[in-house]
């Protein structure tokens, strides 16, 4: 490939970390109620961590989370937040080349990618999706040795390496016929010139302005009430898909919100007091998930009290952080 006209950024974006001995960010500690939120947010937490940034400011997106009656917000850092906080410009890549070529050229371009892949080929998911279940998930490749068919990648809460048949499977580079469309790929460019110093208080205000005017836990409660009807059909697999979209996203949002409000206490004095009620929401969602899972097995379940505690705690937390932000 002729690369003579390409101008990589002055500071190329590179992850130097090694899978051996890699220490995930503290928000991914297994002792937390919800050590993982969703693949995309978890990926960004680790990517920022690897790049030497504090990922907590990127969690401002949790302030505007909502439940729309069907699902909780799939929480993701807003591109404009990543650009202003860290100088990272994120956009869909122009995927005119095969995915493996785009990823390989990333180091030459001085960029990183997020790319959707099939979890079937990710060895870090041994015991869950690896060679067991076809599952869409997002990774960031951090280095590739194409001739040796080896790639390091960030996924969920860690940094890993895959090789051989898994390399072929991820990129469709073996002899198998390609039956799927090309994946969605984002390119991440290093643009430190776009960093806006002291922008976090502005971002807090923007997310608070976008937050629902009422309490999203009330809509989650309605959704739970509806689910207690169809969950009785006995489909445990459907319960888990629903629980991921509603209960887990709510619980993880609340737990990460607790970290975020503690972080902004310096610029929004008093905000840290909201951490305790948000952590209550996180632990109560855990309890609710365990209890609701009994419904598909034919048992009656009452989560009224749990939802009441969650609703009150969320409101308390939001009132505190809103007042602290002025």
């Amino acid at each position: 490939m002729n690369s003579a006209a390409w101008r990589p950024p002055a500071v190329p974006l590179r992850v130097e970390a090694h899978p051996t001995g890699y220490r995930p960010h503290r928000t991914h500690c297994v002792q937390r109620a919800w050590p993982q939120a969703n693949c995309y947010l978890d990926l960004w937490i680790e990517l920022l961590h690897c790049l030497g940034h504090d990922p907590i400011p990127a969690l401002a997106c949790t302030l505007s989370a909502d439940h729309d009656g069907v699902s909780w917000t799939f929480i993701k850092p807003a591109p404009e937040d990543l650009r202003r906080l860290y100088g990272l410009d994120v956009a869909e890549d122009n995927a005119w080349l095969p995915t493996v070529d785009l990823i390989e050229l990333g180091s030459q371009r001085g960029v990183l990618h997020t790319v959707e892949v099939d979890g079937w080929w990710l060895p870090d998911t041994a015991g869950t999706s690896y060679r067991h279940e076809h599952l869409k998930t997002a990774i960031t490749p951090t280095s590739m040795r194409r001739r040796q068919r080896v790639m390091r990648y960030l996924h969920n809460s860690g940094l890993y390496e895959l090789a051989g048949e898994d390399f072929d499977g991820i990129f469709g580079t073996d002899a198998r016929p390609v039956t799927a469309l090309a994946p969605y790929i984002e390119v991440i460019r290093n643009r430190p010139d776009l960093i806006e110093p002291d922008v976090l208080s502005t971002i807090v205000g923007e997310h608070l302005a976008r937050r629902p005017s009422d309490n999203p836990i009330v809509r989650l409660a309605d959704c739970v009430g509806d689910a207690t009807g169809w969950l009785a059909d006995g489909d445990l697999a459907r319960f888990h898909r629903w629980a991921f979209a509603s209960i887990r996203q709510c619980g993880a949002t609340a737990e990460l919100l607790a970290d975020f409000v503690e972080h902004i206490d310096g610029i929004c004095p008093g905000a840290a007091a909201a951490a305790a009620p948000f952590r209550t929401v996180a632990t109560q969602t855990k309890l609710m998930q365990f209890k609701l899972a009994r419904i598909p097995t034919g048992r009656k379940v009452d989560v009224t009290e749990t939802l009441s505690v969650m609703t009150e705690s969320w409101q308390t937390g939001m009132d505190i952080v809103s007042a602290a932000a002025g």
Binding site: V30, Q31, A33, W34, Q36, T128, L236, H240, K286, L287
Partner: protein, 81 residues
């Protein structure tokens, strides 16, 4: 009881190790026990031992080790009489 718990974990825990090959105090979440799998483990334990975990033990730490599960289930069986 321990063998039954290990068997439940082997069938439903979807961890990256054989639960019969680890120490009873080892952290199961470190071995890949997910939120999803812990729910299935809870349901299977209730079936196997004919117990119902009360709200106060329906928390992550209850399912964090074989030792912890064993202690909670033993107490539930004792209370049941």
């Amino acid at each position: 009881m321990r063998e039954t718990i290990q068997s439940v974990l082997a069938d439903h825990g979807r961890m990256n190790v054989d639960p019969r090959q680890i120490d009873t105090e080892d952290d199961l979440y470190e071995f890949g026990l997910t939120s999803h799998a812990s729910v299935n483990v809870m349901l299977a334990l209730e079936d196997e031992f004919d117990v119902e975990f009360p709200d106060e033990v329906l928390k992550k730490s209850t399912f964090s080790s074989i030792q912890s599960i064993e202690a909670v289930v033993a107490e539930l069986i004792k209370t049941r009489g």
